[in-house]
């Protein structure tokens, strides 16, 4: 405990520094001026001035997801706080640890409809993991530390601390991080040992096992991902990952089948449908993954490792639920697995050894599914860039540089997930649960702040990029070399695709008529811009982009009519995938499917 009382704003800054924070993404306003004053007087914390508060939260998400640390946001009361709501919801859905400090009118004015007053704790209650309104400066230091504790423990998520202005001026005593361990919130991290043995027995007996890893693995950390990879290799079973889980198992590992779900790989979805044991790790049986629930993985027993008790048995009945931290539980599974003598899988590759003939048959089946080559697409006219081709080239020309990829939301996002192959966690940042257009650019900004020398690319659509385009100005201010790779089809492509498949090709409001000139727009923001429309110019343009030391917008004009496949139409099952345009007539979307999003 520090001897001298200090003002609330100084307590806030001291708490941030003691929590190991080095950067805050924010935007000032009346209610937080005391904090900005304290920021001004110190050097330990860097403040990144965004151009809209929504950008601050996504930037903090990008920072958090590419480092495993808590992202920190500072915004003013009223409109500052309400602008942050989309980002908070995004962070809640994707379990991103964020601490968001919001200014508030002084305590004596709360409830008075004061200038720039909003019921921030009321508005953010359903879109945060937890929130606080600080009413006494004596509680401030503890609440600040507790906010970090809650944001990062258990299933991570966003926490709001609402700070009335009088509290920021009031004098109080600072207490250290040790006071921030919540008095009762202790998520269970170790699973029940009896259940571990049950799981091991199931895995050993399985003829057609499949691992299904998700974002929880990434949240649990690189060590958890390494254990996961080790277990997959020891068991010698195929493995699929969710959109949020990409990178948890190296994509180059022969056990990896690719992404699962609505736009996942044919082999992944067929394997989910046909497996006799599904081992879910840090994944949540989201509707984008399961397709029609009553047809989901009908012949499998299910093991599910998750830190969140409400994820277990939520959508799908689980035979062996393992409540705990992925990394801890995988560690326990690994040691239990090693206790029994088992046929060795060849290091780093599939041996087909474990489990004998049945396992061999399973791998043969998987190879047959793989042979369908579900990402194959028609190259089409030689003067037209196919979006898939653009991403294939982007991946090929950047993979050596170990890039960090963020995305916006739409077709380009799904193609990026399909065509980029991630060998490590923390390199793929996308808005999965909420599907927030406008996420990618500010997220890339946050990633670049955390990794100043890395290649950071926002794979964007021309519609999404306009949702937070103002952040180009932040990128300019801090000289961040963020690359924006726009797949420009002039359509809200994903909307157009659904209109084509579900609404008789009536393209209601999905075409953008007056798009900006992205080259001039880049120029206006002090970045370099280039437009490319011919396949034979593409490689050179990509090279120019990655070799340019500054921010860069590459506007790639792509085929406007291309649809994203494979696709499980809404309301359909995994074995009812559409593999390409020629498939769609056979499987019209059911009436039940029409109402799903």
């Amino acid at each position: 405990m520090s001897a001298e009382p200090i003002c609330g704003a100084d307590i806030v800054i001291k708490a941030l520094v003691d929590q190991g924070v080095d950067v805050v993404f924010g935007y000032p306003g009346g209610a937080v001026l005391p904090i900005y004053d304290s920021l001004f007087k110190q050097n330990a914390l860097r403040h990144i001035l965004v151009r809209q508060e929504g950008g601050a939260v996504h930037a903090a998400e990008g920072y958090a997801r590419s480092t495993g640390k808590v992202g920190v946001v500072l915004v003013t009361s009223g409109p500052g706080a309400t602008n942050a709501v989309t980002g908070l919801t995004d962070a809640l859905m994707d379990s991103v640890p964020i601490v968001c400090l919001t200014g508030q009118v002084p305590t004596h004015l709360i409830g008075n409809d004061a200038f720039q007053e909003a019921d921030t704790t009321g508005i953010t209650r359903p879109c945060t993991k937890h929130n606080y309104l600080v009413k006494d400066v004596a509680d401030l230091a503890r609440i600040m530390h507790e906010a970090f504790y809650v944001a990062r423990s258990g299933r991570p998520g966003p926490v709001v601390v609402d700070l009335p202005k009088d509290i920021l001026f009031a004098l109080g005593r600072y207490t250290g991080p040790e006071t921030g361990r919540h008095k009762s919130y202790r998520p269970q991290t170790q699973a029940d040992p009896a259940r571990i043995d049950e799981a091991v027995a199931l895995i050993a007996a399985a003829k057609r096992p499949l691992f299904y890893g998700g974002g929880g693995l990434i949240n649990s950390g690189p060590e958890a991902c390494a254990r996961f990879t080790e277990l997959v290799r020891l068991v010698d079973a195929p493995c699929t990952l969710t959109l949020m889980g990409l990178g948890a198992l190296p994509a180059s590992d022969p056990h990896f089948l690719g992404m699962v779900g609505m736009h996942g790989m044919y082999e992944s979805n067929m394997a989910m449908h046909g497996c006799d044991l599904l081992i879910a790790v840090g994944s949540r049986f989201d509707d984008r993954v399961t397709g029609r629930l009553n047809a989901f993985s009908p012949t499998s027993k299910k093991i599910h490792i998750d830190i969140d008790p409400s994820s277990l048995n939520k959508n799908v009945r689980i035979d062996v639920p393992l409540l705990g931290d992925c990394g801890e539980v995988l560690g326990a599974l690994l040691s239990a697995w090693r206790k029994e003598p088992r046929p060795e899988a060849s290091p780093g590759g599939r041996s087909h050894a474990a489990g004998g003939a049945a396992r061999n048959a399973w791998w043969r089946q998987i190879d047959a599914w793989r042979a369908r080559d579900c990402l194959r697409y028609d190259r089409g006219r030689s003067d037209l860039i196919k979006p898939q081709y653009a991403l294939e080239r982007l991946y090929a020309l950047t993979r050596e540089r170990d890039p960090y990829i963020t995305t916006e939301v739409g077709q380009h996002q799904m193609w990026a997930a399909q065509f980029f192959r991630f060998d490590k966690p923390y390199h793929w940042m996308t808005s999965g649960g909420l599907g927030t257009m406008g996420y990618g650019l500010p997220a890339a900004m946050g990633v670049q702040i955390a990794h100043p020398d890395a290649l950071v690319i926002d794979v964007a659509g021309e519609a999404s990029i306009l949702m937070n385009i103002q952040e180009m100005s932040t990128i300019a201010q801090y000289r961040l070399p963020v690359k924006v790779f726009i797949l420009n089809n002039q359509y809200m492509g994903m909307v157009r695709q659904w209109q084509e498949l579900l609404h008789g090709g009536r393209y209601s409001e999905s075409y953008t008529a007056a798009l900006p000139d992205f080259v001039k727009l880049a120029d206006a923001f002090g970045a370099v811009g280039r437009q490319v429309s011919r396949p034979d110019e593409l490689d050179e343009a990509i090279r120019e982009m990655i070799d340019t030391p500054s921010a860069f917008i590459l506007d790639v004009a792509v085929d406007q009519t291309e649809n994203c496949f494979p696709m499980i139409p809404s309301g359909a099952a995994h074995n009812e995938m559409l593999l390409g345009p020629e498939d769609k007539a056979e499987s019209p979307v059911s009436e039940e499917g029409m109402v799903l999003v």
Partner: protein
């Protein structure tokens, strides 16, 4: 999960929470936001020293939904414990109601007679009205209130259900 509708069960769940601002809003918001039923909900501080409140909520749903409700409740940060009394053995459930009946003559005498049979207490009386206080199982309260209806029932105020497990065990 599409459980058959016939599978709907009624559960009484006790939740021990930090008595802090917003905690009730969190619990109620969870039920409304996720589309769960609330048949009754009561809350009051039960531990002054540790500042803990106890919420008793009566809800209904399929077995899978009930499990979900408990899991969702237990992951709220200020929630200490969640107990499904319906699942954990015998428990007592009680509710209190204040029932105002107005009338004269035979109806008034009849209401008093019934109150006596139901062990309701008179807590306020004027020459043309009574307020009865009655504690018991919700069904019993319902039955009494139904009987009062033709006898000049004016208004009813009910606490909602509180419940506790039988035997010496502690929450």
């Amino acid at each position: 999960m599409a459980d058959p509708v016939a599978n709907i069960e009624r559960h009484t769940i006790a939740v021990l929470v930090d008595n802090e601002p917003g905690v009730l809003a969190r619990v109620i918001g969870l039920f409304s936001g996720r589309g769960y039923n609330i048949e009754s909900l009561t809350v009051a501080e039960v531990d002054r020293v540790n500042s803990l409140s106890r919420i008793t909520v009566v809800t209904s749903g399929t077995p899978m939904i009930i499990v979900q409700i408990k899991a969702q409740l237990s992951r709220l940060v200020p929630v200490h414990k969640v107990h499904d009394l319906s699942d954990e053995g015998p428990f007592v459930e009680r509710e209190m109601a204040l029932i105002k009946v107005a009338g004269r003559g035979e109806a008034r005498i009849e209401s008093l007679r019934l109150a006596d049979i139901f062990r309701a207490r008179v807590v306020d009386a004027t020459t043309e009205s009574f307020v009865f206080e009655m504690t018991g199982a919700s069904d019993k309260l319902n039955a009494f209130i139904a009987l009062m209806d033709p006898l000049g029932l004016v208004e009813v105020s009910r606490t909602g259900t509180v419940a506790i497990a039988r035997g010496p065990g502690r929450f």
